[in-house]
């Protein structure tokens, strides 16, 4: 009986210092792959290593021994004793392992639930396993199910739907105001990590130009260079408000630098083209009243945090839906696994029948002498259809038993009836030879 096992650790079970020790980032993942493959009780295997997790997924006939060997290997690589590793590692078997790998692929087990990178990392791990020919029937199917389930969850639930970082939420808001950000102009006032990150996201959305203003002009020039933009002086801000579409502010100024009256006059000059202020500064750089002006939208850091928080909650709600989809898929997969027990017997049965057919056909054809090709074909077709029809009922019967408890009994009977285990059981007479 084949067992699927997943041994690993993630951001929840292990602190980052320990993760660093185990993560194979420093080692060559291909070497690791080879070592795992070399363990004698392991049949198929896949190794996934990211900054948040390490997973070793494998199938084995000897569950206990294989688990032992893998744990030993991890202890050797990390230099952590097996006793210390105990509480850090999780070991999942069969259904649990299947569920775990589904959840990892669908980003339900991620630090930020719904983040999209993990699926790419799982795909990469699988690709390496395929290169090493260490993944076969069971893990191939498990991985393909993981990918399609992850895709299904992403399209049918909103798990990756809404932004869960402040900068990203700001960009998303921009898209809801302007539609397409392509061709929009951005003004960056002041510098700060979050503002720069938001600017980077905006640039990724093909905005036309980025202008940078700073109290210290040299710093503005520096930043402008970084973003391939243009540096402007602080005094030019008023004029530029007529041109730009998005304003990102994050200065350390104690008073607001964008006033209500200034924006109101600006809007007339802009012919009411929408203007979006993203104010990441504390205290705020844009007077709160500005949000009251038509076609002007102001989001300060608290607003953005509020958006992010509600998005995180939304994702949690969506995760419940996703878990249900995972459950369904786990049931389907375990059902498929059960059919695997029946498959070897059916294959053996078919093989045996085919070899009998071939040898008898050969004998008959040679004794019949010269036949036209049409006749040959007719005789051959006759043998094929007889063999098929005889096998049909037993195969259907075995398939029906695949998820019954009595399965093993019937498999046993079938193997004995058709004498399918001759190789391992030499004492029994071979029916082929006993025939006259």
């Amino acid at each position: 009986m084949i067992t699927i096992v997943d041994i690993g650790m993630n951001h929840e079970t292990a602190p980052v210092e320990l993760r660093e020790l185990i993560a194979f980032g420093g080692h060559n993942i291909r070497d690791v792959m080879n070592t795992i493959r070399g363990i004698k009780d392991i049949k198929e295997s896949i190794v996934l290593s990211t900054c948040n997790r390490v997973e070793i997924l494998f199938t084995t006939d000897k569950e206990k021994e294989a688990k032992e060997s893998v744990t030993e290997f991890l202890s050797r690589v990390s230099g952590i004793t097996k006793e210390e590793l105990g509480p850090i590692l999780y070991i999942y078997t069969n259904e649990e392992a299947i569920r775990h790998i589904f959840r990892v692929g669908a980003s339900l087990d991620s630090m930020i639930v719904g983040e999209p990178q993990i699926l790419g990392q799982v795909k990469e791990a699988y690709r390496i396993a395929v290169d090493h020919k260490s993944s076969s029937v069971i893990l191939n199917r498990l991985m393909h199910r993981t990918f399609s389930l992850a895709k299904k969850i992403r399209t049918e639930t909103d798990i990756s739907g809404s932004a869960v970082s402040v900068s990203f939420a700001a960009v998303e808001l921009g898209k809801k105001i302007f539609g397409d950000l392509q061709g929009k102009k951005v003004l960056l006032i002041g510098a700060g990590e979050m503002a720069e990150l938001a600017a980077t996201y905006l640039l990724n959305n093909k905005i036309a130009e980025i202008l940078v203003a700073n109290r210290t002009f040299s710093r503005a020039v520096e930043l402008a260079d970084h973003f391939h933009g243009k540096a402007i002086s602080f005094e030019e801000i008023g004029d530029q408000l007529l041109e730009v579409d998005i304003v990102l502010t994050s200065t350390a100024s104690p008073e607001p630098i964008i006033s209500f009256n200034q924006v109101r006059t600006t809007m007339r000059g802009r012919k009411n083209r929408p203007l979006f202020f993203i104010d990441i500064a504390v205290p705020r750089d844009v007077e709160p009243r500005v949000n009251g002006i038509e076609n002007v939208f102001v989001y300060d850091i608290d607003d953005l945090r509020g958006v992010v928080e509600s998005n995180v909650n939304k994702r949690r709600g969506e995760a419940v839906k996703a878990e249900r989809m995972v459950d369904e898929e786990v049931i389907k997969f375990t059902e498929w696994l059960k059919t695997l027990d029946v498959v070897p017997t059916i294959v053996a049965l078919k093989d045996k029948c085919e070899s009998i057919r071939q040898s008898e056909l050969k004998k008959t054809l040679s004794s019949l002498g010269n036949l036209t090709p049409e006749h040959r074909e007719a005789v051959e077709n006759l043998t094929i259809s007889i063999a098929k029809k005889i096998l049909n009922d037993p195969i259907v019967f075995l398939k029906r038993k695949e998820d019954r408890a009595s399965r093993n009994l019937y498999l046993d009977i079938a193997r004995k009836l058709f004498n399918l285990d001759t190789d391992s059981d030499e004492t029994k007479p071979n029916p082929d030879k006993s025939e006259p």
């Binding site: 909103d158 809801k176 012919k271 949000n291």
Partner: protein, 276 residues
């Protein structure tokens, strides 16, 4: 025979409505895609129904409230299909199609009454007048709905309460430009409708303008939209203000469309048209 087409059309519109609602609630693109297909199929049947009606009656089937309503909902769907092809905003359908199906249901509940077609309803200009005026109404309905959607979305963004609609509704910019284009084309068709109407009036009554209530209210509607267009183009109105005004204009239009025909005497009233 033709009533079967009407019923089938209604059934398809209702299925499309359900589909569009599921699409917007569940954000299921596949459902949206098929809803649109079903809607187009329903629209094709609706066209057949109208053509049959035209041949049986010998005049545009807008002589009573029942048929007018169903013709109006046809024009809304027609306008939607055109706008969908141009803007690719299936979410618009989630608002437009239920609205149109609703009008269709009202129309279906009104009992069929016999219509006597007066000879003046036949001729070249009358169908042109009816078709352009109604299609203009249909496009204004799109402007109205885009305006409502704009206000919902704008409210969410301004108040920073990003509820269920925020992720489902399109961007403010898309809604505003749909609103703008709809008003442009609607205005053009309404203008043509009024000019051809006066040509018809000249032929039938001997004068281009007779201060009939429908004529007066059409002029009021036309002026409202003209002001809105002027504000947009010359003053630079956009967004919220334009959305609110297009909603206001649409209420005036609905009064012109329905109210005048019921409440006021005149040759446009359903009574004098020959229906009920």
């Amino acid at each position: 025979m033709d009533i079967a087409f009407f019923r089938l059309t209604l059934v398809l519109y209702l299925i499309a409505t359900a589909g569009f609602l599921i699409f917007v609630i569940k954000k299921n693109k596949k459902v949206g895609f098929w809803s649109h297909r079903i809607l187009v199929a329903g629209f094709a049947l609706n066209c057949i129904y109208l053509v049959l009606g035209y041949y049986q009656l010998g005049a545009m089937p807008v002589l009573n409230f029942k048929t007018s309503l169903s013709f109006f909902s046809w024009t809304i769907i027609a306008a939607y299909i055109i706008f969908q092809a141009r803007f690719r905003l299936a979410v618009l359908g989630s608002f437009v199609v239920p609205f149109s199906a609703f009008l269709m249901i009202i129309s279906s509940t009104i009992p069929i009454s016999s219509i006597t077609v007066k000879p003046i309803f036949k001729g070249f200009w009358l169908p042109v007048h009816v078709a352009t005026a109604f299609l203009g109404d249909g496009i204004f309905a799109i402007a109205f709905i885009a305006g409502v959607m704009y206000l919902i979305q704008e409210h969410q963004i301004k108040t920073k309460r990003l509820g269920a609609f925020y992720s489902r509704l399109p961007s403010l910019n898309s809604l505003d430009s749909i609103n703008y284009h709809a008003i442009n084309y609607g205005f053009l068709l309404l203008t043509i409708g009024m000019i051809t109407g006066s040509i018809v009036a000249q032929g039938a009554h001997g004068s281009y303008w007779r201060w009939d209530p429908k004529e007066v209210w059409s002029l009021i509607t036309w002026l409202c939209y003209a002001v809105l267009l002027h504000q947009r183009m010359a003053i630079g109105w956009r967004g919220r203000r334009s959305a609110i005004m297009s909603i206001g204009c649409f209420f005036v239009l609905i009064f012109t469309f329905i109210g005048v025909n019921f409440l006021m005497e005149g040759y446009h009233s359903f009574k004098s048209l020959g229906g009920n």
